[in-house]
């Protein structure tokens, strides 16, 4: 991954992480605030309900007291105490009184708990009123009670008072409905709604869940929350998801509404008094559910998320642009430096980078330039040293090569001078011997000089399709006699085995077979010279992807690393006798063919020379390895 991409990713990740952290913290804060606000609102409505409930209860008590103290009830009570048996004339009294006091429920019950008159169910006269405790143990205030009606049961807020005119009291039981009408009296803020579940049956009844308009829709979703209240009589909260959209959910706060357990009213009044007054023996009459819509919170959450994504996206875009700008200003010098480094590595030591700033990158560029200058200088010095070393080597070799034939020349001339001076009678003979030696040595000098001259004038390859395997065979034929005679003379003791591993169907390459013959000949010669005690000479050819390989291996004494490094230097040789030009010639031929040559050697194991030549015609290049 490039420096620019890394930088871009780092910058983008930083922006993204920052936005995410900030958004998360904002979201968390907002959510907590909302939850608190919802809770406060629910508590406020619950408090309002309790206040309204209490007020309505007081109102019911006041109305019932008014009825009980009224003339009608007093008269009825008086009639009952006088033994009046015809209660038929009272059958509609409760209905009339209820209408006057705007009560939904009103019953006149005698001391035997027999209904004399019922406003809510006029036909109930003469029936016992079982669901009401005698006034002696009835709650002083208003209380919730289930009331049976012709069309079903309902929930009401009741009060009981007695009209005591004589020994037999007449009980007045009045109340108001606790239904959607009651809910409509509550001041409910926007986004909130109130439901009332009338717990009239042992089992859950969805039609008993009321809102302002009557039975509420989706009651079954609220059933678990109501069940929780029924089981624990606590005030749980729950989230109701009406649809798959989270914004349609509501948080409901459930408030249990209890009333006296009237089934215990048949027991001893003394034991029940304290229980009822202390709130014990209460049973669940209803559940008030205060619901707050989660839509504002969800929408705000969505807004925060969308804003965060927008900011994040913008941040990433800014990061990309900033990164591009930064790269243009920061990474460009780095990239330039990297490119320059690659050029230097490729050999262009004269590479320079432009110093555009005075910061660290500028210093780096300047240092790079200094470094390349040093490299160039060092290379020049090295070249010069090598040239000097090569000239010195050449001079030494020349001196060495020339010294050998020059000494006999000098001795011969001195012998001739001495013979002339001291033995003129032998001068003739000495002259003939001397001149023969002089001519031989002069020829030797001419050969040496000719070889040097020949190396300096290596011809350009004359390329034509060449079968390398044929060249190998021709080289081996040249050395066949030498290898055979050597074998005979040394009785296999110093035998050099020749092995060839030539690739089948080796493709022809474009090469100069003569030069190639010459190079292989030099390599074979060196290999033979490296195995004076015998060994194995192996010549291989192989097909590579786009090249062919020719390798010549010997099992001689091997070369050191230093020797390997200097092998191809002209006039360098490890032989006592030699011009040191053989491998130089090989290298020159290989280079002229656009190939490569390498040497691998292990001391005491042997040496292998590998030549790689392109299968495609290559322009003339200088080979390096």
């Amino acid at each position: 991954m490039s420096f620019r991409k890394k930088h871009l990713l780092l910058f983008a990740a930083t922006v993204l992480l920052s936005v995410a952290v900030i958004s998360a913290s904002v979201y968390s804060t907002i959510r907590r605030s909302f939850e608190q606000a919802n809770q406060d609102r629910a508590n406020a409505i619950a408090a309002q309900f309790r206040s309204e409930f209490k007020r309505r209860g007081s109102d019911v008590v006041r109305k019932v007291e008014s009825v009980a103290a009224g003339e009608t009830v007093q008269r009825i009570a008086l009639d009952l105490n006088r033994g009046a048996t015809d209660s038929g004339e009272y059958v509609s009294a409760a209905h009339t009184l209820a209408g006057q006091q705007q009560l939904d429920f009103l019953e006149l019950v005698d001391s035997r708990a027999t209904i004399l008159s019922s406003a809510q169910w006029q036909a109930k006269f003469g029936y016992p009123e079982a669901a009401i405790p005698p006034a002696a143990i009835a709650p002083a205030g208003a209380f919730l009670k289930r009331e049976e009606l012709p069309d079903g049961a309902t929930l009401g807020l009741f009060a009981v008072r007695a009209a005591r005119v004589g020994e037999q009291p007449l009980y007045v039981i009045g109340g108001e409905r606790l239904d959607q009408g009651f809910l409509s009296t509550l001041d409910i803020p926007t986004g909130t709604r109130v439901l009332l579940y009338q717990n009239l049956n042992a089992k859950w009844n969805p039609k008993s869940l009321l809102d302002l308009n009557g039975p509420a829709a989706g009651a079954d979703k609220i059933a678990p929350l109501v069940a929780q209240v029924r089981d624990t009589l606590q005030e749980p909260q729950g989230v109701i998801h009406w649809t798959s959209d989270p914004a349609d959910a509501e948080v409901f706060h459930a408030i249990p509404l209890t009333g006296p357990s009237l089934s215990a009213a048949n027991q001893s009044s003394a034991s029940q008094t304290s229980a009822n007054q202390n709130g014990a023996n209460q049973q669940l009459m209803g559940v008030l559910l205060v619901g707050s819509s989660r839509r504002p919170l969800i929408e705000l959450e969505r807004q925060v998320v969308s804003t965060a994504m927008l900011v994040g996206g913008a941040g990433i875009l800014v990061a990309v642009l900033a990164s591009l700008w930064f790269a243009a200003r920061v990474t460009r010098p780095v990239v330039s430096l990297a490119a320059a480094a690659r050029r230097v590595a490729a050999g262009d030591l004269g590479t320079k980078v432009e110093v555009e700033s005075s910061d660290e990158l500028g210093e780096l560029a300047a240092s790079f330039n200094r470094m390349t200058e040093d490299l160039v200088q060092q290379k020049d010095r090295t070249l010069q040293v090598e040239r000097v070393a090569a000239w010195r080597e050449l001079a030494r070799r020349l001196a060495h090569e020339l010294k050998n034939p020059l000494f006999p020349l000098q001795v011969t001339v001195e012998n001739l001078m001495r013979a002339k001076q001291k033995s003129p009678e032998m001068f003739e003979e000495v002259f003939h011997e001397g001149t023969a030696t002089l001519l031989a040595e002069i020829n030797n000098l001419k050969t040496i000089i000719g070889r040097f001259s020949e190396f300096s004038r290596m011809p350009q390859p004359q390329r034509r399709p060449t079968q390398v395997n044929d060249v190998v065979h021709s080289v081996l034929r040249v050395f066949h006699a030498q290898l055979h005679n050597n074998e005979l003379e040394n009785n296999d003791k110093d035998k050099i085995a020749v092995r060839t591993e030539l690739a089948d169907a080796l493709p022809e390459i474009s090469a100069d077979p003569d030069l190639l013959h010459r190079a292989l000949q030099n390599l074979v010669l060196n290999a033979i010279d490296a195995m004076p005690q015998g060994g194995e000479l192996t010549i291989r050819t192989a097909i590579l992807r786009d090249r062919i390989e020719i390798s010549v291996s010997d099992t001689g004494s091997g070369l050191t690393q230093e020797e390997c490094g200097r092998l191809f230097t002209p006039y360098y040789t490890t032989k006592q006798h030699g011009t040191g030009l053989g491998l130089a010639i090989v290298q020159s031929v290989v280079s002229d063919h656009g190939g490569k040559i390498a040497v691998e050697s292990t001391k005491e194991k042997g040496t292998t020379f590998r030549i790689e030549l392109s299968r495609e015609p290559q322009p003339w290049q200088t080979g390096q390895n």
Partner: protein, 490 residues
């Protein structure tokens, strides 16, 4: 409420000799749009219409409280043993109030229109009626208000004014509001004492009571229970014999097809509280269709509630909820229905009182328009939607046992659950005077009840006091029965 059953008790301190003159002011709850017997009417509307028409027209015969036929337009009658052929001799010289003769032909035409299945023929002075089926109760049938001899004027609209032979004729008719009757000077029964009758319709019982108190009405309707209390000075109230049946009737498609359910419901109903409280003591608890004064055997049918037995009958069975409907025109019906539903609930039967939806049973009032028990039973069965009671071929209704069996067959299976026999009541102002009947009142007297009334008002101009009415048109006095011509004899 029937005007014809209204009897005014004479004020002992007032004048006892009749006076002619004055206008009798009557008020009614009903508001008829036609002077005709309404179909599908409440009993109150029926009695009102019958009473009005009885002032205008006459039947061939009338019945007393003992169900004995008395002459009216017919003075004699004879039927063959098979009761398929009857011949009635008509009173001579009777005219309609428009002056036309109430000839046999005219009477035949009127009766033939009412009874297409009869073969009604006229002769010189009689009418013969033939039927393929025996008609042992023909005379009781002829006494019913639907057989009043009335003709209509020929303008063909619903406001046709009936023209009859009765003591009054229609002077002014405002449908649903007011009816003015004028005395028929040429009435065969003699001119009535009052010059006319003014009837105001659509007045509630409360308004009627106020009008009576304020001396703006002379004769009003009252609730039966109102006759139990004391009356204001000078006013008088009267209560008829039980002439209505309040019952529960199961509809043909009722969900209550299980006879156990019906029996349990019948056993669950506590009639006493309903009578004492809702009916204010009026009416008699009933378990039979016909009241005891008609048959004498109604005690055989027990009206006692037995919730325990009802639960036993229903034990283990699962019964559907029933829908109980009632006549919304009946002011007491809803409460009574709710009470019945409450009683049913106590034994485990769910009954919902409602006017909507398919009804399973209905609280109805049926009229018993004839003192003849067989005729009353047939009429009651028709109103209750029951099958026609089956009597022996001939003579129908003669045997009390036959009557009992016929009624028993209607009650077995609990197609109907009788609840109460109810009376109708009315009240009169202090200035109203009339004859003095005994406890067994004149039954459906055709106009004779109002025709026999007079007003004790000294301002009346006409001081005629002689009763110029024919002897046999005067109100029936059971104590003087032996002095009357034998009914049916020629």
């Amino acid at each position: 409420m029937t005007l014809t059953s209204m009897i005014a008790f004479t004020n002992a301190t007032g004048e006892t000799r009749p006076h002619y003159g004055g206008t009798l002011r009557v008020m009614m709850q009903s508001a008829p749009n036609a002077l005709d017997l309404p179909s599908n009417a409440t009993p109150a509307d029926y009695w009102d219409a019958a009473g009005i028409l009885s002032l205008i027209g006459d039947t061939l015969v009338k019945l007393d409280a003992q169900s004995r036929p008395q002459p009216a337009l017919a003075v004699a009658w004879q039927g063959d043993p098979s009761a398929r052929h009857w011949q009635l001799t008509l009173r001579r010289g009777v005219k309609f109030s428009d002056g036309t003769a109430a000839s046999p032909a005219a009477i035949v035409q009127i009766l033939g229109a009412v009874h297409p299945k009869w073969n009604v023929r006229a002769s010189s002075d009689s009418v013969s009626i033939d039927s393929e089926t025996p008609m042992p109760s023909l005379l009781a049938e002829l006494a019913l208000p639907r057989n009043l001899v009335l003709k209509r004027n020929g303008n063909g609209n619903d406001n046709r004014v009936p023209i009859g032979t009765g003591p009054f004729l229609v002077a002014e008719w405002q449908p649903g509001k007011r009816l003015k009757l004028a005395a028929n000077e040429e009435s065969w029964a003699g001119r009535p004492f009052v010059d006319g009758v003014e009837i105001e319709f659509g007045k509630s019982l409360h308004d009627q009571a106020l009008a009576l108190e304020l001396d703006k009405a002379d004769v009003i309707e009252v609730a039966p229970q109102a006759t139990n209390g004391s009356q204001r000075h000078g006013t008088s109230a009267s209560l008829s014999l039980p002439v209505e049946l309040l019952a529960l009737v199961f509809s043909p498609n009722s969900k209550a097809q299980d006879p156990r359910l019906r029996e349990a419901l019948a056993l669950a109903i506590e009639r006493k509280p309903i009578q004492s409280v809702l009916l204010k003591g009026a009416g008699e608890p009933a378990a039979s269709i016909l009241p005891n004064w008609m048959t004498g055997y109604s005690a055989v049918f027990s009206a006692q509630a037995n919730p325990q037995r009802a639960r036993t009958v229903l034990a283990g069975s699962r019964q559907p909820a029933l829908n109980l409907s009632f006549d919304p025109r009946d002011p007491q019906a809803q409460l009574i229905a709710e009470r019945i539903a409450l009683d049913a609930r106590q034994v485990g039967i769910t009954v919902q009182v409602s006017l909507s939806g398919a009804e399973d049973l209905r609280l109805v009032r049926a009229m018993l328009p004839s003192p003849d028990p067989a005729t009353a039973l047939v009429e009651a069965a028709r109103q209750l939607g029951l099958q026609e009671p089956v009597f022996p071929a001939a003579p129908r209704g003669n045997s009390l046992d036959d009557l009992y069996q016929a009624e028993r067959s209607l009650l077995d299976g609990y197609a109907v659950i009788p609840l109460f026999h109810l009376a109708v009541a009315s009240a009169a102002s202090a200035r109203v005077r009339g004859w003095e009947p005994d406890r067994l009142r004149e039954w459906s007297g055709a106009g004779l009840s109002l025709a026999d009334l007079w007003l004790a008002d000294s301002r009346l101009a006409d001081r005629r006091t002689e009763d110029s009415r024919p002897a046999d048109s005067r109100p029936y006095d059971p104590h003087s029965y032996d002095a009357r011509p034998e009914a049916g004899a020629r």
